[in-house]
Amino acid sequence: MTAVVALEAITTATRRRRSWTLVVGLVLFGLVLATAIVSLFWLPYDPADTAGSRLEPPSLAHWAGTDRLGRDLATQLMIGARIALAVGIGSVAIGAVIGITLGLVAAFAGRVLDDGVSAFLDILIAFPTLLLAMLIVAAQGASLWSAVLAIGLAMSAIIARLTRILAKRILALDYITASRTSGTGMWGIIWQHLLPNVWPTILVNLALQFGLSVIAEASLSYLGLGAPPPNSSWGRMLKEAEGTVLTAPIGAIAPGIAIVILVLGLNLIADGLRDIGDPLRRVSARAVPAPTTEGPR
């Protein structure tokens, strides 16, 4: 009896702690989102305003100091939040739409098409995102859209492979056969059984990929393959602070912290979603054990 009570206490505690990861994740993500939204209406300074003195430390006038051209770093951070979210949302949308579609096609296809799609995905996954980005930039020029496209395409391969594996596993289960004998067609099976069962895992992965795409965008911007000036992305801020990192470290620390806040938030959200998505945690409104009809009568 004591063991049961202890077990219940542990379960409740675990559940509470896990819901906290989602809450903390949402708070961190919300902080960045709110900053991005505010930046659309109000900025402390004009991003091109070089009126401040160079490499100023944080002060009341410049919360995060200024860069070597005398531009306000807080302003750049706020614009960077906008860019990071735009790239994340854009690439996740591209990755999800292409990836889920391709994964489902491969899962339903005959052996030849499935093998073809799988080989293509393996190549795409092995292909460095950076090289893909350079090719796209070479074709389209450096822009926010090029970065979104490169990250989205790279992500779609990962999501497609995941979707394919999950879908194949579910399609082999008896409840799919039962659904067929119940007269449900292919689209019905996809909407009613397949997507609801693969979606939670994919959603968790999309949240993780969102975080990775923020880092990828920062890397691309750092290399000059991201959004060109005057858009200030966190990656480009890091690049610009490179030469002065020892004399005025705030220029590198501030965008670094911003990236950590957003990526950590997204990873915590992914963690929280994973626990919520587990069907075994889903209990009907009346969470009492179903009366047994199997016991001795």
Binding site: Y175, S179, S182, G185, Q192, V283, S284, A290
Partner: protein
């Protein structure tokens, strides 16, 4: 009168060897039929052909005297009449759907007229589950209860034939007896085709038996005569492999 019939059915998976050869038998309305054989004998493949989930490579599966068609309208009426229960109650129910939704699926997909609520309530009552099960998820039920849910889903369209693929082999012994009892009571109005290698269940439930060995019918007839005086050596081996309880003190010395 035969409802489901196979004549000279053969089946091979793509680029694989044939798993069924020249299988012919008939399911007679009102007489439960057992398909018996060891693992790998082709029982489950045969069941898929009987369910119209795959087409035979050679020969025909006929329902009410006509070969199964691939047309949607035909399949709908076929599926109203022929339903299935699967072996593993843990994988045959979608974990993300409530029991109510699971039971409503055949009503919706087979376009069965009438309100779903009363039909679902009646099906739950028929399998001896509480009415409030509709709002619960499969993981809230035990293995035997899940198999009852699967049986409820199968009987809800009002089928004439219920194909059961090893419906009790994943259950513990006492639960097994209750599920067999349930199938026996249902078989008063539905003809049960039982795929099994459990001869005890077969004897309790089925009037007719077909014995499959490596994809061929080696024996067919009334269960009693097949089990009492098996003609084929394979059936004799199968009978000999049934575990028996020996009384204390009579063990081999």
């Amino acid at each position: 009168m035969s409802i489901l019939e196979t004549s000279n059915v053969g089946f091979a998976y793509r680029r694989g060897p044939a798993v069924l050869h020249d299988v012919s038998f008939a399911v007679t309305e009102g007489r439960n039929l057992a398909i018996v054989g060891e693992s790998g004998a082709g029982k489950t493949t045969l069941l898929r052909l009987l369910l119209g989930l795959a087409s035979p490579t050679t020969g025909d599966v006929t329902f009410d005297g006509t070969a199964l068609l691939r047309e949607r309208a035909y399949l709908r009426s076929f599926r109203r009449n022929v339903q299935a229960v699967f072996q593993d109650p843990y994988s045959s129910l979608d974990p993300r759907q409530t029991v109510g939704r699971i039971l409503a699926e055949p009503l919706r997909s087979l376009k069965i007229p009438g309100a779903a609520g009363p039909a679902i309530a009646a099906a739950l009552k028929a399998v001896d589950l509480p009415a409030d099960a509709v709002s619960r998820y499969p993981h809230e039920f035990s293995g035997g209860q899940r198999q009852r849910i699967a049986i409820a889903r199968a009987i809800i369209p009002g089928p004439r034939v219920l194909l059961a693929d090893e419906p009790v082999s994943a259950l513990d012994v006492s639960t097994r007896v209750r599920i067999v009892d349930l199938l026996a009571s249902l078989s008063e109005s539905i003809t049960v085709v039982l795929v099994s290698h459990d001869l005890g269940v077969v004897a309790a439930l089925c009037q007719d038996t077909v014995v499959l060995e490596r994809g061929r019918v080696v024996e067919a007839g009334a269960t009693e005569s097949v089990l009492r005086s098996p003609a084929s050596p394979y059936t004799r081996r199968l009978l000999a492999s049934v575990p028996r309880l020996s009384a204390p003190g009579t063990e081999a010395r």
